[in-house]
Symmetry: C2
């Protein structure tokens, strides 16, 4: 069982499902009309309204209103979340010590509840911008292919900007899409859209003097530090090419923390 | 329809449900095994893993891993979230301009999806701590009742701290629970536990010399700036009392912002 969903569960069912989630270390999501109280550094109260409640196995607790990226109330991991029926209504209580604080949610009506046994070993890896990679390629087009000539950098199309529009040694146009992270199917997807756009001969009309005649055959090249076999296969199967620039491999640390503090 | 839940929807069903949610201004929650990309101030990649995705009507987009209170990736309100099927998999794309950034999630397996038509007019109201209120009461017990005498402040019990243990003009013990925010059923609940504890005569054993003989009748008093009729009724029906100290009414602004910046 990866997820269990309950629609409009009664108070006892809410408490039972929540207890099971806490016991099993599952993520709990609740859609409910509720009241929220905070007590700790200050005291706070949020009157009745519809919110999404998220409880994580590490004790993290989030109360999200229908707008805004910040939870209206929250508790970091390290504490504990408990549940009980009180006055005929389910109550979720998240608390921790130092500082001693608590967020208590009284559920007036539970519309939906989801228990999610989630497994996630991945870590967010962050790298620099694509700009430095563009610079490098603009100055050294040979790293992509011997004799490749850059015709235009960041050409606008109806699908967005093509990173590089180039011509190879045989004069065949090449659409180059550059990614700073490991190539994904989304990137393949994007490159394919650009290439089909060229093949439809739409682009010259959109950016005159582009140096390519409508209907010309065109090559599509995805440039990234690396790519999974799945992505390489997708490219190959669709007549597209991959060029790996491993010198732009990721460095996970540091920047990730920086990213977090941005929040 | 307040919520619609789908268990293990196929790619087309995910995209259709997501589009309906975006069209109707509903909150969307997805439990899925997915890959995440970020492109903007930097580039970032999060490999496959189980996460909860939340999209709000204002364009807010959150990616939550099983631990931690901060989303691993997110987009504030103001942008837009779109969806499509790509290479046979559902993709959610959240993007905004200035700064131009995008979070793109490729769903490898969708375990669950919930569409939530949420309505929430409430605003989080924050006030100071209870400390100042305790001080005020300790110095002016008469504001609670003529002739009331404070015997002990913050007496520990197995259920936590009783704010004030007092004795009225007739020598009857009074358990006083003080709240800095509008009284709620949770507070009523808490007071009732303390009172029953006294009536069970457990407390004297726990804190000797408490000045109350086991079995004595005891009054329970909830003190707060205000209380809803529902809470007042619950108290009355259970032989408990409410004392309103309106001078400690809430001031919503400012402190709320302070709270947000803590995040």
């Amino acid at each position: 069982m990866v997820v269990e969903q309950l629609e409009s569960p009664d108070p006892d069912a809410v408490v039972e499902a929540a207890k099971t989630a806490f016991r099993n270390g599952a993520m709990l999501t609740v859609e409910a009309e509720c009241e929220v109280e905070y007590e700790g550094r200050t005291s706070g109260y949020l009157g009745p309204g519809d919110r999404i409640l998220v409880a994580k196995p590490d004790g993290t607790f989030l109360v999200h209103q229908p707008t805004g990226h910040k939870p209206v109330n929250w508790m970091p991991g390290g504490g504990s979340v408990s549940t009980r029926v009180s006055e005929g209504e389910p109550v979720l209580l998240a608390r921790r010590s130092n500082p001693t604080e608590r967020v208590e949610v009284r559920i007036h009506e539970c519309y939906g509840l989801t228990r999610f046994d989630a497994t996630d070993g991945a870590t967010y890896e962050e790298s620099g911008t694509e700009a430095e990679m563009h610079e490098y390629i603009a100055e050294n087009p040979d790293v992509l292919e011997e004799g490749l000539r850059i015709v235009e950098h960041e050409r606008e199309t109806k699908y967005g900007f093509v990173d590089f529009y180039a011509v190879d040694a045989n004069g065949t146009p090449v659409v180059v899409e550059v990614k700073r992270i490991q190539a994904t199917l989304n990137h393949f997807d994007q490159l394919q859209r650009y290439v089909s756009l060229y093949e439809d001969g739409k682009t010259p009309a959109e950016s005159p003097g582009g140096g390519v005649t409508a209907g010309d055959g065109v090559r599509g090249m995805l440039v990234a530090p690396s790519a999974s076999d799945r992505v390489k296969r997708a490219l190959r199967d669709n007549g597209l090419e991959f060029v790996g620039l491993s010198e732009f491999g990721l460095d996970a640390k540091g920047s990730t923390e920086a990213k977090l503090t941005d929040f």
